[in-house]
């Protein structure tokens, strides 16, 4: 997951950058600030080892600007009305999406959990979210098996929906039983504060990001 030569940001930094991007999405900064923030985030993405993604995001931004200023005003009504709200929304949320994608790709789940714990998120919430995230790949696996079985049984059309849903739910129920047994017999209900072998520390890179973010947010607010 993490290449040794790249920058590695703390999950808490990621969350703070996310919050700031959200604020900027509402404040609507002037164009130079908006562009500056996006370039900064793409730079961060590239430094964290996702160079290709950084380039793609910049292209997407360029594409949205073209859409908004050249293509859509000249398009037939249906397309223009359909796409302009979407284009506007995507442009605002672009910085959030950049940070979000960076977190998904470069933050291991165990670090995120420890990060949330240091911020005193309720332990019960952390447990439930961990289980949800851990179950996504299992859903994909189960769906694969069920679809294979459906092919062998020659199940068609609308029947497929019912045929997929029922075994999936039943499997979810039995997994919940078995996983709970395995978790409680390893002490998950222990009220003592949980510890971790993972140690999180904010380093210079993290602080740089946070300070930059605060500066951008303040500047946007003051110039709005």
């Amino acid at each position: 997951m993490n290449k040794p030569s790249c920058l590695h940001i703390d999950p808490r930094t990621g969350l703070l950058l996310l919050v700031m991007s959200n604020i900027l999405a509402f404040i609507q900064p002037s164009f130079p600030l908006e562009l500056g923030w996006i370039i900064f985030l793409c730079l961060l993405t590239a430094l964290c080892g996702c160079g290709k993604a950084a380039v793609k995001w910049l292209l997407v931004f360029g594409l949205i600007l073209c859409l908004q200023f050249y293509i859509l005003p000249a398009s037939p009504k249906l397309i223009a009305t359909g796409c302009s709200i979407f284009a506007n929304y995507t442009r605002r949320m672009l910085s959030c999406a950049i940070v979000g994608m960076l977190m998904v790709k470069r933050t291991p789940l165990r670090e995120l959990i420890v990060g949330l714990r240091t911020w005193h998120f309720p332990q019960k919430l952390i447990v439930a979210v961990s289980v949800t995230l851990r179950y996504f790949p299992a859903i994909r696996e189960e769906t694969g098996y069920i679809r294979d079985a459906m092919k062998l049984r020659n199940i068609h059309g609308l029947q497929k929906v019912e045929a997929l849903v029922v075994p999936l739910m039943i499997s979810a129920t039995s997994t919940a039983e078995e996983l709970s047994a395995a978790a409680v017999t390893r002490g998950i209900e222990n009220p003592a504060p949980k510890t971790s072998v993972v140690e999180l520390r904010l380093n210079a890179a993290d602080w740089t990001c946070i300070v930059t973010g605060v500066l951008f947010t303040a500047a946007s607010y003051l110039t709005s």
Partner: protein
């Protein structure tokens, strides 16, 4: 000696059950969210579509976790995932928390084991997703300032104003209510046909 320990708080098994069914709910939710990106009208109706198809995991969770907190947890998990991946603004967390608080109230009032109580809870819960298209109304003015500066023709602006009108705001909130009724009854049918017979509830 019989052991029937119903502690009021969510224990380990409850948390894991909620977590797993939240994952299933999220997958269904996400699939319809993607589909609705095609047109703003679809986006406004999206919470309604999701409600029609997501009754099953919600009601299964309700049947298995007959305690306060399950619904709130499911809503917060969904909102958190959407927020942290940068797909939606923090507004979705706000709407989910409000919707889930109302849902928990319905369940508490109907004592957790009744279908009507869970149906009411599902209606409230489904309103949580309205936080996704809600920014259309919240940022209306700056949106119109921006698109006229882009050189959009007047007639287009009129249509867009219609989409973000107060009437559509009512549609935004009405769709999940209707959708949730449909979704809950579909789920009830599935319960009768399969889940109760199979013995998992």
């Amino acid at each position: 000696m019989s052991s029937n320990r119903l502690s009021r708080g969510l224990n380990g098994k409850d948390l894991i059950t909620v977590g797993i069914f939240s994952a299933v709910y999220f997958v269904i939710n996400f699939a319809f969210m993607l589909l609705s990106a095609l047109h703003p009208i679809l986006w406004i109706l999206m919470p309604g579509f999701i409600a029609v198809f997501s009754g099953i995991p919600f009601l299964l969770m309700c049947t298995k976790v007959q305690k306060p907190g399950g619904v709130l947890l499911m809503g917060v998990i969904t909102g958190l995932i959407y927020f942290v991946t940068g797909m939606f603004t923090v507004i979705i967390l706000v709407t989910f928390v409000i919707a889930c608080a109302l849902a928990e109230l319905s369940r508490a009032m109907m004592k957790y084991a009744s279908f009507k109580g869970n149906l009411a809870a599902f209606v409230m819960f489904s309103l949580g997703m309205t936080g996704s298209p809600l920014p259309i109304w919240l940022t209306r003015d700056s949106f119109f300032a921006q698109i006229s500066s882009q050189g959009m023709p007047e007639s287009y602006i009129e249509t867009l104003k219609a989409i973000s009108s107060p009437t559509m705001l009512i549609v935004l909130f009405a769709a999940p209510v209707i959708g949730a009724f449909i979704g809950a009854y579909i789920a009830k049918g599935m319960f009768k046909k399969h889940f109760i017979k199979a013995g998992i509830v």
